[in-house]
Symmetry: C2
Subunit: 200 residues, 2 copies
């Protein structure tokens, strides 16, 4: 059996990735050291290079981990909501501000990677991995809500940008608006849209 080798390996990798997120949130991406990551996981300096090819690989896999986690949360939010398009969008808005996804550690890490993504093809690809799909899903939902066409496309674009901007704001102004207020901003916008006949 390979339990001994493979199982601990995956466990360690996850621990190290979580420790990387911690370090990015506490010290920033630029100040994150291999030694910090190892110490954060309670291990010695050489461990990261044993489980990951290099620091770059570790960081890329950390971003991929966050990206997959976000994708899961998105998918599950839709699955657990009524099939009605308004309820679907409301569920997605709610998901963006629930503590499991929208917490200081996660948002700080996302923001740090975004800041470097403009000049790093690897990060850019990972950030965009599901973007087309998110956009397409929202365009469909808004098509049902306010009718298909350019308006639906713009509504989808607005909501995606709004999530990014509100997350950024939560991070930079910790004493400012709360997650609850940010969610209220999204919902107020949604409920102010000129719904087509068949809404709710």
């Amino acid at each position: 059996m390979k339990t001994r080798r493979t199982q601990p390996r995956e466990l360690r990798r996850r621990q190290l990735i979580e420790s990387t997120i911690d370090s990015i949130a506490r010290r920033g991406l630029a100040e994150t050291r291999m030694a910090d990551v190892a110490a954060g996981a309670g291990m010695s300096v050489g461990i990261v290079n044993f489980h990951f090819d290099s620091k770059q690989t570790l960081l890329a896999e950390t971003l991929g981990y966050l990206s997959d986690e976000y994708y899961d949360a998105w998918t599950r939010a839709r699955e657990n909501a009524p099939a009605d398009p308004l309820a679907q969008v409301e569920a997605l808005i709610g998901m963006h501000f629930e503590p499991r996804i929208c917490n200081q550690r996660r948002v700080a890490a996302w923001s740090a990677f975004f800041g470097e993504a403009g000049t790093r093809p690897t990060y850019q690809a990972l950030c965009q991995k599901f973007d087309d799909e998110y956009l397409a899903q929202l365009v469909d939902l808004f098509g049902e809500l306010i009718g298909p066409g350019e308006h639906a496309r713009r509504a989808a674009m607005l909501l995606l940008a709004l999530w990014d901007g509100l997350w950024q704001n939560l991070l930079l102004n910790p004493g400012g608006f709360s997650a609850a207020e940010s969610e209220a901003v999204c919902l107020e916008w949604l409920h102010g849209l000129p719904l087509a006949k068949s809404g709710r």
Copy 2:
């Protein structure tokens, strides 16, 4: 007279700051080297430490330079627009997507600093320097447009977040939505607001 010393000094400092923005836009903040900045300005390696105390000082002053430039653009946009609140907001929206402010170099630099601002008090302070004022001005404008209170506050918050998010999107999806489309998204939102009696 001190012309010889002080005048070239300020000129060099500005050249080095512009070269820093170039380097951040091309290589990223993490990959920006003192040697890159000097070479970009056509000078030798030691020059940056001659005009700035350290790399950290150079980067902080670069962010301050961007912040002041943005403040000027904001102020001038309002000055050059009719006093009417709707026209004022439209002018601010237009300013956010005109090439002088919304170009790849500037937006890439902003985004890079934002990514590090969460963990660097110096950057955070510079990013937030005028934030309270921007918010207050928008709350006033929306107070006139849709009536004062929580709704005006949320509209102001939404627009600020939207600008951030749309800029981020322009940077990460260069082949996606254009600046013109981003502006259209803002304007469409603005014109869909339930205006108070005295609008326009």
